[in-house]
Amino acid sequence: MELPAQTFQVTRADLVRYAGASGDFNPIHWSDRVATKVGLPGVIAHGMFTMALVGRAVTEWAGSPDAVVEYGVRFTRPVVVPDDDQGTEIEVTARVREVTEDGLTRLEVTATCLGEKVLSQARATIRTAR
C-alpha cells in the first residue's frame, strides 16, 4: 500500500532557523563560501533537517505525534538549497512493508529532491493501535 505523498518546501531561512533550534551551526548549511570551498555545489540542508521533515510525514501518516517506535535513514545525496525565495522541495512517499499482529506498521520511505533520492534505507515503524 502506498501512502499519500507529502511535499516540503525548504528555503535558506528554514536552514537558519533549524541551525538555531538544533544547535548545528556547521557553516556548510548557511555559507556558500564555505560550502563551495569543501566541494559542495552550494549551501546544503542539514541531513537531520531532511530527516526531521520526513519524520513529520511519518507522524502525519501515523495520525499521532507520539506513534513512532523506530526511525532510521541513510543520507545519500545532499539537498542543495538555492539562495532565493523558493528554495527547493523535498517529496516524501512511503509504502507499507508489513503490519504486525501487535499493532506495528513498518514503512519504507522515499525522499526525493529534484527527482533524485536523497535518503536510502529510510524506514520507520509506527504504532497504529492505541
Partner: protein, 148 residues
C-alpha cells in the same frame, strides 16, 4: 591515519543531565514546521497521556549530537572532524521525549572500520532519564573521508 579498531565496544562515562525545556521543544517543532498541538500545548499532550509537550521524533539528536563530542573529540581515537560526514542515523524509542525530562547519554562505540581509504565509525547512545528510565537508543554512523 586509520581509526583504531581496538575502540570497538568502548563505553564512555554518562554525560551531565540535559534538561528538556518546554520552550525548546516548541522552538524545535516550529523550526521543522511541526504544528501538531501535542508539540506546543501541554493540555493536548496530556490528552495523549503525556505529562507535558511531546518532542518530535528527531529532537533527541540535540542531546546526542552534543554528547557524541565525547567520542568524536577523543584525541586517542583521532577522528579528523573536518573530514567527518554524517552517514546514517537511527532512533529506537521506548517512549517520546517530553518537556521536563532530564536526560543522560551513555555513548558506546559499536563499530570502527576502514574501507577503501575511508574510515567508518558507528556510535550508539543510550538516552535515559537521571532516574535510569530508558527513553531512546540512538545510532549514528559517520564516514571519515580519506585523503584522495
Amino acid at each position: 591515519m586509520p581509526l583504531d579498531p581496538s575502540f570497538v565496544g568502548r563505553t564512555y562515562p554518562p554525560t551531565a543531565p540535559y534538561q528538556v525545556g518546554r520552550e525548546k521543544i516548541r522552538e524545535f517543532a516550529s523550526a521543522i514546521g511541526a504544528t501538531d498541538p501535542a508539540h506546543h500545548d501541554p493540555e493536548a499532550a496530556r490528552a495523549l497521556g503525556h505529562p507535558d509537550v511531546v518532542a518530535p521524533p528527531t529532537f533527541p539528536v540535540i542531546v546526542t549530537m552534543a554528547a557524541s563530542s565525547q567520542i568524536i573529540e577523543d584525541p586517542a581515537l583521532g577522528v579528523d572532524y573536518s573530514r567527518l560526514v554524517h552517514g546514517d542515523q537511527r532512533f529506537a524509542y521506548t517512549r517520546p521525549v517530553v518537556a521536563g525530562d532530564e536526560l543522560v547519554c551513555t555513548n558506546t562505540i559499536e563499530d570502527v572500520s576502514t574501507r577503501g581509504g575511508h574510515g567508518f565509525l558507528t556510535t550508539r547512545t543510550d538516552v535515559s532519564t537521571v532516574g535510569g528510565e530508558p527513553v531512546v537508543a540512538v545510532w549514528a554512523r559517520y564516514v571519515i573521508r580519506g585523503e584522495a
